[in-house]
Amino acid sequence: MRAFECAYSRYTSEPFALGQMLVVREGRCDTFGVVTGSESGPDDPSRPLVPRGDPGQSAAAVMADNPEIEMLLRTTLTVAICGHIDREVARPALPPMPPPLLAEVQAATDEEKVRIADEGRFLVPLLANPAADDAVVAAAIREVARAAGPGERPFLVAAGKELARLLKAEPSRLTSILRAVEP
């Protein structure tokens, strides 16, 4: 309920970033989460990935020269849930139900990011998730701030206040996240 894992096939062409907000638009409500990690490797664990390509050859060139590789690798993303939209109402809280199995995961729009972040309230479920370490939380704040456009500064101030409230017992963590948020 607090997190889910999803397979992602466009690792090389459109990689998701750490802290990026994703959405599953299926099920009882739209479920939003933040990328906390990704793991890539062979789809079949009995087939190890061996070095390919010539010295100096870029990864993209190796991929292009070996068209089967991309189809044999799988990227698994771990996503910490940070909110949901139920009947047009955005709530920075855990959804009542987990997203459906096999549902497609997409990047959230800028408007959705700002709505879910709700002036920093999305940090409540995020900070409660052990997978969302300081780097993830900071990346998520930066991501929403960028999406806010002209509202970037007000959002950063609101998120900072929310962080201070939530982490009043953990000043060192607060400092660590705030430093990581700074451009």
Partner: protein, 380 residues
């Protein structure tokens, strides 16, 4: 009790020593065969006539060269190409099953190199009742189920290859690779009636005709790693009979010393009586072949004689060398097709259990026979 390693391990050193003795004895025979090959090369027309006179019409399979039998060809340069590998795997109807059915899984790898074609790795599975394999003939009922399943699998592999290769060849040069022999040998079986085999034969002819219609843009080859064929050796035996005590040689033994890595042999035409029979069933689709050295492996590559034009052979040769370099000595496209096709032991068990469960849900319960029941329980 599993295999008694303590027992077999004690016997292995003696086996290895005997193998070494055989290898040492083979060295002389190989040298003799190479001398015969040189003799054949010195006067190909006369030597071929001698071979044909000695072996023509006999049951011994042999091969004749198109030109100089001792010719070696270096790897040609490779341009943009789409490589299609096809391989199949199957589950033979189990006589112990409640519902006797087969499963065939045809895997493919479509890999473009410098050609604007979408790559693809996939498999297509199909199932059918035992009776589907025997459709239209009472005679086929005498045939082993494995043979019928294998025949259908071979034909489906070829058909799958055609479905992929024809559009690929429209987009640019393409090479279709199969694993094993080019033609389904089981078409020639005496264990099935002509009526039962006719649909498989017709489907094979139709598939080959469609490949031929693609013309020069499409090369085709069936790849046999570490082939044990000895058709060239049989021909050489006519020119310089090996001593009766000599160990049996393979064509690979002869060409290993002749070919450098990446080189291929001359093009040969098989005159195997069995193959001849298969070819007589597939008029216009005679088999040509060459040997290719990949590392220490001497692979046999079979291709339709109509696909043995210099352009098509050069593309096939260069592609195979490149593919083998990409995959530790075996064509990458065939390796990936195999990975898509393979039906593992656990897949087989799962299939059997699923079949039993669904049959049980439908109220079909066959009494377990003693052997099956005992093997399943394995009680002490």
């Amino acid at each position: 009790m599993t295999l008694r390693m303590d027992t077999v391990a004690a016997e292995l050193p003696a086996l290895i020593a005997r193998h070494e003795e055989t290898r040492a004895a083979a060295g002389e025979a190989i040298e003799g065969a190479r001398n015969a090959l040189r003799e054949w090369s010195d006067d190909p027309v006369a030597a071929s006539a001698r071979i044909e006179q000695a072996l023509g019409g006999q049951a011994v399979p042999y091969a004749l060269a198109e030109d100089d039998p001792a010719a070696t060809c270096p790897t040609p340069s490779l341009g943009p190409v789409t490589v299609i590998g096809v391989d199949g795997s199957s589950i033979t109807p189990n006589r112990f099953s409640t519902v006797r059915c087969y499963a065939i899984n045809i895997g493919h790898a479509l890999l473009p190199y410098g050609v604007p074609v979408e790559p693809s790795l996939d498999a297509v599975a199909e199932v059918g009742l035992d009776g589907d394999l025997l459709e239209g003939s009472a005679g086929m009922r005498q045939a082993p189920r494995g043979l019928a399943t294998r025949l259908l699998r071979d034909v489906r592999e070829l058909e799958c290859g055609v479905e992929l290769a024809v559009p690929a060849a429209e987009a640019g040069p393409a090479v279709l690779l199969l694993d094993g022999t080019l033609l389904p040998w089981d078409l020639h079986t005496r264990q099935a009636s002509d009526e039962a085999l006719a649909p498989y034969r017709n489907r094979t002819i139709e598939a080959l005709d469609r490949i031929r219609a693609c013309g020069e843009p499409l090369s085709m080859g069936a790849y046999i790693s570490a082939s044990a064929a000895r058709e060239v050796v049989a021909a050489l035996d006519v020119l310089a009979p090996s001593p009766p005590s000599a160990p049996p040689l393979t064509d690979g033994d002869v060409f290993r010393g002749l070919l450098q890595p990446g080189e291929r042999s001359a093009i040969f035409h098989s005159r195997s009586s069995r193959r001849g029979s298969v070819e007589s069933l597939l008029p216009g689709h005679e088999v040509a072949l060459f040997y290719l050295r990949v590392g220490d492996d001497i692979a046999r590559v079979e291709l339709p004689a109509w696909a043995a034009t210099p352009t098509q052979v050069d593309r096939l040769h260069a592609t195979l060398v490149d593919q083998c370099e990409r995959c530790e000595g075996y064509p990458r496209a065939l390796q990936e097709a195999h990975e898509q096709a393979v039906i593992s032991a656990s897949d087989r068990e799962q299939f059997e259990r699923l079949l039993d469960r669904l049959a049980g849900d439908a109220g079909i319960r066959a009494p377990l026979n003693g052997k099956q029941q005992s093997k399943r329980r394995r009680s002490i």
